[in-house]
């Protein structure tokens, strides 16, 4: 265990940032979001939840994949080199850290995604334990320990001190020059955080029956119509969600050539599955059901029971109609355990 006074945080970050980009929770326009840190940034490690998740670091909202040129009847294509530069993403909470494992299942499974893979390879992930999870947090349902997140290194803030523990060689390189510390303060905080997390209102959701064996039963559950009735199809839940990864591929004519880019998409949108002859998900009921069935049944069915939800609480905080996955789990899972 190493330690650093929070007063020296900027100095330490300057040392890291000299060599590579540092991405951290930064306050701008009254919101805290992940952004590139500079000495002038208002870093907000104390913020429990960034508005958007940390997924942009590996799966940006928009990215060019290739360029085309046309000359007469002939075409040429040039792939954008996915070679990323080393960067550090710092202050990632346990929920967002788990979301990287989930995104890995999608983008690093055969055939792996070269753009995502390059960023993962070049990243050093420094996580931060939660000191005070709030009433929208429910990560513990998915076996996530908010007091001991994974990553290349883990940080804890206790009073004015930042404690750091390296978990990998990459993490070791970051913290090796810091002062040694004993872990008593961290242990005490962890015990307190775990106690709070277990007592939160949504800490004991009943996930029994959310598996591939109950796929048809859950799909045909009569609650979907009622659950989805208020859904506006705005897609906010999918954009703030750390595990939503559906994407669109589109072309943009620059006037000098065509860029083919990938951008986030949302299964909540009416044209998501729209084809020339119609759509297989014609109303918001089917679209809403798709999103939650994917997170709670389809994804686990294909990934040894791993849920595609991390309990970060962003959809609870941001849905304009107060719809969220907790309501779905409660309605479909019967009584609370």
């Amino acid at each position: 265990m190493k330690k650093l006074s929070l007063n020296s945080l900027n100095q330490w970050l300057e040392g890291i940032a000299g060599e590579r980009r540092v991405i951290a929770p930064i306050e701008a326009a009254d919101q805290v979001n992940y952004g590139v840190w500079t000495p002038d940034s208002k870093i907000r490690l104390d913020a429990l939840r960034t508005v958007k998740s940390a997924k942009d670091a590996f799966f940006p909202q928009v990215e060019n994949m290739m360029n085309f040129r046309a000359e007469g009847k002939n075409l040429s294509v040039e792939m954008i080199d996915p070679k990323a530069e080393d960067f550090v993403i710092l202050g990632v909470k346990a929920c967002d850290a788990r979301s990287f494992d989930i995104l890995d299942r999608v983008f690093l499974s055969d055939p792996y995604d070269p753009f995502y893979a390059a960023r993962r390879e070049h990243a050093t992930v420094v996580t931060l334990a939660c000191g005070r999870p709030d009433e929208n947090c429910f990560c513990v349902n998915f076996g996530i320990d908010p007091a001991d997140p994974k990553g290349d290194a883990t940080m804890w803030i206790v009073d004015d001190t930042l404690y750091l523990r390296a978990n990998t060689e990459k993490g070791e390189a970051l913290v090796k020059d810091l002062e040694d510390a004993d872990d008593a303060a961290v242990k005490a905080q962890q015990a307190k955080t775990r106690e709070v997390a277990e007592k939160l209102p949504f800490a004991r959701l009943n996930l029994k029956g959310f598996d591939g064996d109950h796929l048809m039963e859950k799909f045909n559950d009569p609650h979907w119509a009622e659950l989805s009735r208020a859904c506006l199809g705005c897609g906010t839940c999918t954009f703030v969600c750390p595990t939503c990864q559906c994407y669109d591929i589109r072309d943009f004519d620059t006037g000098h050539g065509v860029q083919r880019y990938r951008c986030w998409d949302s299964c909540m949108y009416s044209d998501f599955t729209l084809m020339a002859h119609g759509t297989n998900r014609p109303t918001q009921v089917e679209r809403f059901r798709q999103r939650f069935m994917h997170k709670l049944i389809y994804f686990p069915s294909n990934n040894e029971g791993m849920y595609s939800c991390v309990g970060c609480g962003r959809c609870l905080a941001k849905c304009p109609q107060n719809l969220n996955i907790v309501k779905v789990i409660k309605a479909l899972g019967g009584d609370e355990a």
Partner: protein, 276 residues
């Protein structure tokens, strides 16, 4: 598998045939000649025109054709409008092959086969039929039921008459159109009705493709004739972007049409939501 499979290769459209008023068949080769890649019957490929878009199409030609691939494409949307406006010699982008193919090497081998197609639904089966023709002794009796709205909408009619109906090829072809039409003395009926009228022996293995409504009634007709769902294969089509099971839109339950399909057996589909 390649890791750059989002990046297409260049293909040249070397021949375009107007098959029906709204279906054209496009022959695609590498710029230096030859097939863009190897495939199996029932697999698909992503075709794109930069600046217009990209979409998944079934490969119409048989893998036994060595020099090129063909795609029979109906004009029905933005990209297909552009494809239909193309001229021979023009280059397009192509990537593939994608998906699971019909089990021509195992489950279908030695079986009596019944192909049932409606309209442009013949396109994916065309590949299998010609594969079977080129390996004719590996399969039993072959029946083909094919129908369309009118005689002018029958896809590949020249090939059907000259090759598939050639007695030497030992295939029984049953054509039908939806409504009576001047100049047509063949059968008039919807495909499902015709299948029932023909009353096939239920020991055949069936491959069916066509509009969803046709497939639904064909399945009912087959059930009446005593066929089991385990004997019937189809090929699905949903909107796709990546073709790799990642972009998240072509799923039916926990299966992705692009990689777990497009070929499914009906007993497999029975275990999935009917969201297609």
């Amino acid at each position: 598998m390649r890791t750059d499979n989002l990046i297409p290769m260049i293909g040249v459209v070397t021949e375009i045939r107007q098959d029906t008023p709204d279906i054209k068949t496009f022959r695609v080769e590498k710029p230096e000649g030859g097939k863009c890649f190897e495939h199996m019957p029932g697999q698909c490929a992503m075709l794109s025109i930069p600046g217009v878009g990209e979409a998944m199409f079934s490969i119409t030609s048989s893998p036994t054709v060595k020099d090129y691939q063909e795609f029979s494409i109906k004009k029905c949307g933005c990209l297909t409008e552009w494809l239909h406006a193309m001229e021979p010699g023009q280059q397009i982008m192509i990537r593939g092959p994608f998906g699971k193919h019909f089990p021509v090497e195992d489950a279908l081998k030695g079986k009596d086969l019944l192909f049932i197609a409606g309209g442009v639904g013949l396109a994916p089966l065309h590949s299998v039929i010609n594969y079977v023709l080129d390996n004719r002794d590996d399969y039993g009796k072959v029946d083909i039921v094919y129908g369309s709205r009118s005689k002018d909408d029958l896809l590949d009619i020249d090939e059907i008459q000259s090759s598939w109906m050639d007695p030497a090829n030992r295939m029984d072809v049953h054509l039908t159109i939806d409504r009576p039409q001047e100049g047509w003395d063949g059968h008039v009926a919807f495909v499902p009705t015709y299948v029932e009228e023909l009353g096939f022996d239920p020991n055949k293995t069936v491959l069916v493709c066509g509009p969803p409504i046709m497939i639904k009634f064909v399945l009912q007709a087959l059930t009446k004739l005593g066929f089991q769902k385990e004997q019937v294969y189809t090929t699905m089509e949903l909107r796709m972007k990546c073709g790799l099971g990642k972009c998240g839109r072509c799923n039916i339950g926990d299966k992705y049409v692009c990689k777990d399909g497009p070929v499914f057996r009906f007993d497999e589909l029975d275990e999935l939501p009917s969201e297609y």
